[in-house]
Subunit: 400 residues, 2 copies
């Protein structure tokens, strides 16, 4: 065993700086069948159009089986980019040429690619605080330092952004999730969207607009995408099929200017050559066959009911000094108690058989402990009610 | 347009150092219907088990549709790792625990992950010269410097490796393709395999064994994998479903010690969270249902015939001073003419409507121009004969 070199291998500096996320340790606790987990970010399996997928697959494998199983282009299937471009125009008034679209292995890959392309190790980028954990992970893997900007119920605070930009005047980009943000469920209102675009235009900063949940609006009126409002081509838009088709496809897409598309292709070729051709074909059939528009209302209906049930349960079971967001869509609710420490409460929650994600995980600097993220899409109705009841007990215990 | 910041955006240093590969520019020339391309590295679409895939998919989507469409674990589907571990034992005498297996988005992703995990920018690694272009691309994307070691008909030359290790004594790893190497088609013989393992064991160096074509042997006797001969746990083994199932799945696997597996999972989570669950389920059904063992003989039969036809055509049409390898498997033949410059010959080849990949692309330092890589798996039998005839004319023209 003396000659076994692997156990004493030195890993790279960047990899040594990376830590497993708390979400993974939470996933382990899910093994307990008594556990009710609001911790994951999983869509409900009932939201998957299984029959449509079978139908589309069977048609395509019969018609185009050999092309569907072959290597595809690094940027993805041409006809799918055409279908995405068309849909983005119809649904979101986003104008794009299909050549401005890159398909990726989930939008997670787009986050990683864009971080690697746009920033050198040590550079900083700005995000909402809290922000999507997967973005923190992706950007940190390229050695990026993240600066969070405070939010309120209308999204990122613009005065706080201006102050941050005085201190950090040349961020490589600003990462935002304007619709039903993960983790808070908060949407940026129209006024803020416009002011945000003015600021980045004045300062000459690129924005990454991440929009995984945009199609899942249960209430309120649709707000225009930053990319649709943007006159100066400062916004890179990211979408995904994970929430309107199914995550198992691992298929996302980015709409970006040609220079960025070229660099994304270059790095993606080094990373995984191309995404799954099979996923791309099925997604194309799902869009072009009109399945998506017939299916999304079912998902919205299911999730609206679950959101309403969770909000009702939160009102019923949480102590009155606990606040929570009331999202118009998406998958998450953000629960906050002034002065609480949700990191410390987690042990009691696990004892009481209910899981959440501690809020501190979503802060680039990790120093806010008053909140937790809970998911309302995955659990059965019974578990939503019972889980929130248990959560109420956890909060009551923490108050003592 | 003054305010458009993207056109003047500074990309990261590492991305600015990356160049599109010549293979991509070759792919563009394929658009010409008259063109015969030996340039790509594509499996023949006839080698795809379309009916088996349809059968397996239909069974699984009916039985486990919802799990198959959900997010999967970062390291991949547990039952597939079990099936891979069992198959590796049976076919290659490689002992592994399923927990030592990480499934990746093609083995390209494994190359990228391992480069990023094991080396800092500026570190060097050793490979055969020539070596797989995708590995050069993947490693360079992490800022790795590559040092090539000369080969002969029995693989990497061990005296040359010893000399290289005197000069570059602490490479982060040595990357080798022992079976039917891409681009040369050469296999490392048993004596070299043993000597190679002695050297890395003495020097305390990790080896990455890339084995995409190992199952595709048309002639000669099977040679043991480095990983199977390795007593000291110095070898990380990479396999893929791209050549024994189909590349459209984008599914590879790595067998590595637990410390490496942990780091691969950590970085993969940042890169793409997980690979396609759908691909993983189908691959599992394909392995466990025994489809793979019934199918591979068909692929071998098809490719053996094409290899034989190409070798016969090369004998017939190439001038006698042109040498070429006679691979026992895989997908490629390496054609060399002393004093030739295949980079300069390419223009004439495109005029004569035949494509190859210039040999210099496969050298980490790019300074060898006497060879070319040609693929024998993709083209129809007629095109193999006609393409080689055209290639003969190109060599004749270059001699004048």
């Amino acid at each position: 065993m003396e000659k076994n070199v692997l156990s004493r291998w030195e890993f790279s500096t960047i990899v040594n700086s990376m830590k497993p996320s708390a979400i993974e340790s939470i996933l382990k606790a899910i093994g307990d069948p008594e556990m009710i987990s609001f911790g994951g970010g999983l869509p409900n399996p009932e939201s998957f159009p299984v029959d449509d997928v079978k139908k589309v697959f069977d048609e395509l494998i019969t018609k185009s089986g050999r092309q569907m199983l072959q290597y595809g282009a690094t940027e993805g299937l041409k006809s799918l980019s055409v279908a995405i471009s068309k849909r983005m125009k119809q649904q979101l008034s986003i104008n794009s040429d299909p050549s401005e679209i890159v398909q990726t292995t989930g939008s997670q890959e787009a986050l990683y690619l864009l971080g690697k392309i746009l920033a050198n190790p040590g550079d900083y980028v700005i995000s909402e605080a809290p922000t999507y954990l997967g973005a923190i992970t992706a950007f940190r893997a390229s050695g990026i330092r993240m600066i969070g900007v405070e939010m309120d119920q209308y999204g990122m605070k613009m005065d706080a952004l201006r102050r941050t930009l005085k201190k950090y005047s040349h961020p490589k980009f600003i990462y935002v999730l304007p619709n039903f943000q993960n983790p808070t469920g908060i949407s940026m209102n129209l006024e803020r969207r416009k002011e945000f675009l003015e600021i980045i235009s004045d300062e000459g900063i690129i924005a990454l607009e991440d929009d995984p949940y945009g199609s899942l609006r249960f209430s309120g009126t649709q707000l225009p995408a930053l990319k649709a409002l943007d006159k100066n081509n400062n916004v890179i838009y990211m979408g995904t099929f994970s929430k309107v088709l199914a995550p198992g496809f691992r298929l996302g897409y980015t709409i970006a200017p040609p220079e960025i598309v070229d660099k994304m292709k270059l790095v993606k070729q080094a990373l995984d050559l191309a995404s799954s051709t099979i996923s791309e074909y099925i997604a194309e059939g799902y869009l072009s066959g009109g399945y998506i528009d017939r299916w999304i209302p079912n998902v919205i209906e299911l999730y609206r009911r679950k959101r309403d049930l969770m909000l009702k349960s939160l009102e019923e079971y949480l102590p009155s000094d606990v606040e929570f967001t009331r999202p118009d869509g998406g998958m998450f609710i953000w629960v906050t108690k002034k002065g609480a420490n949700t990191d410390k409460m987690l042990e009691d929650a696990i004892k009481k058989k209910v899981l959440y994600v501690v809020g501190s995980e979503f802060y680039p600097d990790g120093d806010n402990h008053e909140s937790m993220r809970i998911n309302f899409t995955y659990s059965s109705d019974e578990k939503i009610v019972e889980g929130v009841r248990r959560l109420g007990k956890v909060f009551e215990g923490a108050g003592k």
